[in-house]
């Protein structure tokens, strides 16, 4: 009945009870929904594989919104006049506008709108920490839960791709300028994307045999299917970006050689962090102790979960006890991977409490659902092993929380005489990454910080070396995909202005 008289009922919204059938009907005409009605719609849950099934396979955990769910969620957006979410986004996606497109049922329009600001929406919709960015700024969080902006971004991008409607952007006439991009991770890909559209010839050099950087060797299939990364890269290829794999900058070719011998007019360095930190405690070189990078690279890049069909092996976790040391997203990826490989117990061992863990809430939540055990306030002192040097346990010390430290998080303090041995067969150390030294060694005239990250002007991402720019984890240290992407785009703009002699100082 309401379908026939929407205007009439809109005025009486206060008295109306929101029913599923009401929503189904109003989805067809979102312009008639009142704020009150929008507020009454609960945040739409992301459909996902059930925990007991997914912790045994490597397929994607989240299944994505259906069009109905997406439109329902989009209706929750209040379409603020001055949307705070946009300011919360590192690349300022026009969030209110793309959500409106979804609410109106124009999913391709939504995808186009997102792509004005974000070239990798299917990826960012999956791996961005939205709860700390756009969704944190959403006005709804004051009284309700925020609009699921990330889920909607993912939906729009997936819809465009899955219906075969990906549109290639226009490429400007050739400028005759050549730019080399080192690294095919998020920073490199976004930089390449913008530069090719501006008419420059772009060549991307990748050290590994697969393109995508951390998107393929680091983030597991169950969180980011590699097929999606491949298709995003395929789009860049169609725009004319040239990709060369198996070139390690600093060894296969140096930045100076790219500029002087291979005639590139500018170079963008987006090589990532790429040097795993160890804890420096005894027993770290025992058999069965891995860095998160190694464990994840073996499983994700080398597909060792398919051993022996793929040649690269990895520790046989079946029925074993595995502990991952660290509390970040990489630690969650590693521990959930170990569980999927058949670990009997898969622990997160973290020296602070759960509240201080840097991992995304969604990842922690997913991990717990999958049966991951969280051992908080525990600090490893030493790894112990048997005669054959295989790991048998980690000697840990219990901690309690004291006053906040310089990071603002409460400092863990050891509890006296609380040492015990946690029996484990495999350990994964996931406490972060330093900078790969190869660029620094081979290009001494690029200024680096004490932590060996490359120093740049944050407005342009220009390094201390003429025509050389840098962005992503090599500048910030371990950070997020979206920040790296933003840096790549800032650099692309600056490179374009520099190469074309556009003066921006006026």
């Amino acid at each position: 009945m309401m379908t026939f008289l929407p205007q009439f009922f809109a005025g009486m919204a206060f008295f109306r009870i929101i029913t599923p059938s009401f929503l189904e009907n109003n989805i067809m005409c979102p312009q008639h929904i009142t704020t009150k009605e929008r507020l009454a719609i609960p945040r739409q849950e992301m459909p996902s594989q059930s925990p007991d099934v997914r912790n045994k396979n490597f397929k994607e955990v989240n299944l994505g919104y259906t069009p109905e769910l997406a439109r329902k969620e989009a209706l929750r957006c209040l379409q603020c006049k001055d949307p705070a979410c946009i300011k919360g986004c590192p690349v300022n996606i026009k969030i209110d506008q793309f959500i409106k497109f979804i609410a109106d049922g124009d999913f391709l329009g939504a995808a186009r709108k997102i792509k004005e600001d974000n070239v990798l929406p299917a990826i960012c919709g999956r791996v961005c920490p939205q709860e700390d960015q756009c969704e944190k700024a959403c006005i709804l969080t004051k009284k309700y839960t925020s609009v699921a902006i990330g889920n909607l971004e993912r939906f729009a991008a997936d819809h465009e791709r899955e219906t075969g409607n990906v549109e290639l952007p226009a490429v400007k006439a050739s400028t005759g300028k050549k730019v080399a991009v080192i690294g095919s991770g998020p920073a490199g890909l976004s930089c390449a994307n913008d530069l090719i559209q501006l008419g420059h010839a772009v060549t991307v050099f990748e050290a590994l045999h697969e393109l995508g950087g951390v998107l393929v060797y680091g983030i597991p299939e169950f969180r980011l299917p590699k097929e999606i990364v491949k298709q995003e890269i395929e789009g860049l290829k169609q725009l004319g970006v040239k990709f060369i794999t198996n070139v390690l900058a600093g060894r296969s070719v140096t930045v100076d050689e790219l500029l002087n011998e291979e005639d590139f007019d500018a170079v963008f360095i987006g090589v990532g962090a790429g040097l795993p930190w160890f804890m420096g405690i005894p027993g770290e070189n025992l058999l069965g102790v891995y860095s998160a990078n190694e464990f994840l690279t073996r499983v994700n890049l080398m597909k060792s979960y398919q051993f022996p069909n793929n040649d690269t092996p990895v520790f046989n976790c079946k029925g074993k006890n595995v502990a991952v040391f660290g509390g970040g997203n990489t630690a969650m990826d590693a521990v959930r991977t170990a569980k999927r490989l058949g670990a009997e117990h898969a622990y997160i061992v973290y020296r602070r409490s759960e509240a201080e863990m840097p991992a995304r809430l969604e990842e922690v939540h997913h991990a717990r659902e999958e049966g991951i055990e969280f051992l908080m306030l525990m600090n490893p002192l030493e790894f112990v092993g048997n005669e054959q040097q295989w790991l048998t346990g980690a000697k840990c010390l219990k901690m309690e929380l004291g006053e906040p430290d310089e990071s603002g998080r409460r400092r863990p303090i050891p509890i006296k005489d609380s040492e015990f041995i946690l029996p484990i067969d495999m350990a994964v150390i996931s406490i972060g990454n330093g900078s790969n030294p190869l660029i620094k060694q081979s290009t001494p005239d690029i200024e680096v910080s004490k932590r060996d990250t490359i120093v740049v002007d944050l407005n342009t991402m220009a390094t201390s070396k003429e025509n050389v720019y840098a962005g992503g984890d090599i500048v910030t240290g371990g950070a997020t995909v979206i920040l790296a992407m933003g840096a790549g785009r800032t650099a692309a703009k600056a490179i374009h202005e520099k190469l074309m002699g556009i003066d921006t100082h006026e």
């Binding site: 219906t163 395929e234 290829k237 054959q388």
Partner: protein
């Protein structure tokens, strides 16, 4: 569009092949049983490589990344030469390749080049297929003005490789065989000890071969304080410094063989840790090798 339609679309993602630049093998010959010399197109690497550096190679799309030292290179022709002993599945598979076949991926040159200077008298020792790795460094040492002595060890005469090449760059060249079927009857360590005992002043030793051999050489030169380098062969994954799987203990510090090495001061290397860590995947290596042998038999 209905829910069902979307699901259907998802099951059939766009399919396409990412075209890759393959590396063509231009020559492949067996130097001895199970030891093959393979010359492959890799122009960028041929131009850049220095003695002591290595490549990582992946035979095909399901292959593992195998570190192999570059034995030689021809920058004009754009080729590099590797010498491969069929040990596990990947090296055995590589050794089935002939001229005209292709290799999926090669990255390099990796690792720090050998530290080459005019030391005075330099001894380059190669054990087994390690000779292939010792060879380019012997060439570089000779070029730098050293008096070069080479000791080339093998189990028996038919396993001796690169004899002619080694002789050509050596001021003195020795062959040792474990069974005495050729050259000096005994180990390379005994030959080295003999040279030291003869009163020859040795300034530098480079030893490359099986871990027990390198460890033994370190013990021979330690009392005389002769600078001794060894090229380590830990298990690697990426070879770019990213994973730390190849970490070795040198002077009680953890080093990554792929970026800090592969050559290290023999007197400071913890060989026991290296030996242990190289056993990490023995069951898996066996499983792979057996499956490969079975497949070969069927063909």
């Amino acid at each position: 569009m209905t829910f069902a339609l979307i699901r259907k679309a998802r099951q059939s993602p766009l399919s396409y092949e990412i075209k890759k630049q393959m590396h063509k093998i231009v020559a492949a010959i067996f130097l001895a049983e199970n030891i093959k010399k393979i010359e492959i197109e890799a122009p960028r690497i041929a131009k850049k490589r220095k003695a002591g550096q290595f490549i990582m190679l992946r035979v095909n799309q399901t292959g593992e990344r195998v570190p192999l030292t570059i034995a030689d290179a021809d920058p004009e022709k754009g080729t590099i030469t590797i010498i491969v002993q069929g040990m596990g599945k990947s090296t055995k598979e590589l050794n089935t390749k002939e001229a005209g076949d292709t290799i999926s991926d090669i990255v390099g040159p990796l690792g720090a080049p050998s530290d080459i200077e005019n030391f005075g008298t330099a001894v380059s020792i190669g054990g087994g297929v390690g000779t292939a790795i010792a060879y380019p460094t012997a060439v570089a040492l000779k070029k730098a003005g050293n008096y070069v002595i080479t000791i080339n060890g093998a189990r028996s005469k038919d396993l001796v490789i690169l004899e002619k090449e080694m002789k050509a760059v050596s001021d003195e060249a020795y062959i040792t065989t474990d069974d005495g079927s050729y050259g000096f009857h005994g180990f390379v360590t005994q030959k080295l000890q003999e040279l030291i005992d003869s009163g020859k002043k040795i300034d530098y030793v480079l030893a490359i071969g099986p871990i027990p051999m390198m460890r033994a050489i370190a013990e021979v030169t330690r009392p005389y304080n002769i600078k001794t380098m060894v090229s380590l062969n830990p298990i690697m994954v990426d070879g770019t410094g990213m994973c730390g799987g190849c970490r070795v203990t040198v002077n009680n510090e953890t080093k990554f063989a792929c970026v800090d090495g592969p050559e290290f001061d023999a007197h400071q290397v913890d060989f026991k840790n290296l030996t242990d860590r190289n056993k990490l995947y023995l069951p898996e290596e066996k499983q792979s090798a057996e499956a490969f042998a079975h497949k070969c038999k069927l063909q």
